[in-house]
Symmetry: C3
Subunit: 137 residues, 3 copies
Amino acid sequence: MPVFTDYLWFNTKKRQEFVRITDQIAAIVKASKIAEGTVLVSAMHITSGVYVIDWEDGLIHDFQVWLEKLAPAGLDYKHHQTGEDNADAHLKRTIMGHQVVVPITAGKLDLGTWQRVFYAEFDGQRSKRVIVKVMGE
Amino acid sequence: MPVFTDYLWFNTKKRQEFVRITDQIAAIVKASKIAEGTVLVSAMHITSGVYVIDWEDGLIHDFQVWLEKLAPAGLDYKHHQTGEDNADAHLKRTIMGHQVVVPITAGKLDLGTWQRVFYAEFDGQRSKRVIVKVMGE
Amino acid sequence: MPVFTDYLWFNTKKRQEFVRITDQIAAIVKASKIAEGTVLVSAMHITSGVYVIDWEDGLIHDFQVWLEKLAPAGLDYKHHQTGEDNADAHLKRTIMGHQVVVPITAGKLDLGTWQRVFYAEFDGQRSKRVIVKVMGE
């Protein structure tokens, strides 16, 4: 079974930023020449996520407001006693998930009409990485 | 490596409905003749999820109450300025997850005693789809 | 395509406990002799999860406080009318997720610097199981 691996790099301007990556994933799948299988897209950090949602700016805003409500920054987290200040980033990323498996059918990402893959950065402004592993035949 | 793909269709009567799909997944795995591997079960919409939980009606009720508390309908979401009214469905589905990977051992779904696969609809009353992709040997 | 399956067993002393399992997963991958692929690590119970986070005790504490806030024990859950008392364990585990897919590259778990795999027990003090399924080449 062929297995094909690549990595995506990010360095967002803002601390929190959601980045569309469907086209990059599709390009890696095309390069892999795998026509039937799956592609794992998985953040390699514990303060960023990967998820599937609509490409709509209002909705992205709604997610950010919602995550701040469920997992607020600035609380007195124990993790911060180590010198860190990003406990909320870990919590937010847990809600969003840190990986997706996208099916590949007939050489293409088999996504629904409105499904797009996003990288969710919660502690950016530095170099971060996502692994993309294609498996199939 | 064999790869076998099928789709499940849903058109729920209610806007929000949780549907048991373990038997349909098991039937697709049987048809695939794959004895060792995994099956990806993934919603193709951004307002529905797939998850694994107990088959118990009280618990399903508890999940619905809980999701309404964490991600309420009827708030003034930005997404609704596009004419949509389902932002809460996107949030609820994010908590539940939109896909699971079920292991296959000796030709059967290798689930724990109480584990059942569910389709979670948060914006139903129309045609929706789940992809089922079996991989292995 | 080789597929290799193993199981991890747990019996935690406390009802809620987070257990580091990266080394056990790495040992199973080594035994599988699969050099390129993925390993599915999936809880076989509906009151335990598997997730990836930092190995830092303060952060583990923060997660436990946070989960108790989002999914409190002791509420009047419908599920408890069946004689159960663990509805909150189901909700907490849903937030954390019950499975991860870890990429394998060059014979090793391809994790980021701070990524560690954890088993999250929310209803312990009895025998529980996680399936570990390695696939690749």
